[in-house]
Amino acid sequence: MIPRHQKILFSVLLAAALIMTGVLWHLRQRAHQRLLAGEDSAPTKAPEVAPTEQATLLVANDADGSLLVQARSLPLPGDPNARARVLLGELLDLYAAPDAAHPVTGGASGVAQVFLLPVPSSKDSQNSGDELAVVNLTGNFAASHPSGLETETLTVLSICGTLRANLPHVTKVRFLVDGQQRPNLAGHADLTRTYLTADAVPTGGANP
């Protein structure tokens, strides 16, 4: 037979446990609500009123292996890193269009970031004014890129050429995928080397 005082103690403890459960549940719900409300009221990026500017894209064409100059009017941010990213995003959006001459899926989101870094001149380690662009592509972009010597080369060259056409200080380009160095883009284009933007010149490309 269980003593009466033990029965009372058990009932009190059970009641306390149930009340605690209720309180915890309530607190959890409140925290969740607060989090959601916080997300809504978090200061979003100020709507930038980027002025529309004339930009030059070097657009690849798989049919003849050419890089053709295309002028576009674009709202371009003042910050050079953001500017470079917007330019490359515009280029990749062209490649993601249904009738693209150089089809690559993914579009603007294929470029995660672009960082512009000063290139020290070789003689004295002072700033030469030249810049190295580090283009960080997304893993999804690389994974969905068609495999082939020509198609991969054209993507790399059109990125280099577009950077050079709009940011003439950019003389060198390196590529990362998801922040890491990768041996190649989709089996062919070497991503371990530094590309010279001077090599990416607009060409007719095709044979006469």
Binding site: P146, S147, G148, E150, T151, G187, D199, G205, A206, N207
Partner: protein, 233 residues
Amino acid sequence: MRWTRAFIGLNFFYSIALLAALAPASIAVAQTANSAARFAVVLDAAHGGDDTGGRLASGQMEKAATLAFSVRLRSLLAARGMAVITTRESDTAVDPAIRAQIANRSKAEACLSLHATESGSGIHLFTSSLQPSQPARFLPWKTAQSAYVEHSIALAGALNSALLHDGFNVTLSRTALIAVDNMTCPAMAIEIAPLRGPDGKVTAEPDDSDYQARVATTLAAALLEWRLEPRQP
């Protein structure tokens, strides 16, 4: 003990460097003395093993299409009296450095790296984007091809003309080429893309045997002509 081992290691490294550097000199000799007797072509079927290359529309992997083309071209070249050296004969992974070593040992007059793709159309020819340099006894491994770039561009020009003459759509460009950039021979990459009609529709896939046979026949004839062309050593 440790020093002895380091010394042996260093010696080994220098021997390899010396062998790589002597290769161009011996090629020059082979070109002047032996070009009539022996004309060697290296066929490098790209990819293989775990490195499948791209997937073709037929479902076949690029590595299989390049091997099939290498086998086809090899027999046509051998039938024309050329010595053919291949970097792989089966579905095996071959390191790019090994491919270049095979090419450099063979003292070949043409080294062709073979690819296939679903992108673009016709035949894509590529030579190395390295700047031409003077042949030297010591060539840095990474840019060994630079001493041969002018020969490589001449070879690409010859193959380009032959392919255009036979009605193929050809693009000719320069790029950084894995393996080819380490080769001490006139070298280039040949990428077979689908054959397309005027509307852009595919009329033959890069692994289509008739299409491959046509390309191989044109290349074999062009190489035979290249063999007979007088050249600077």
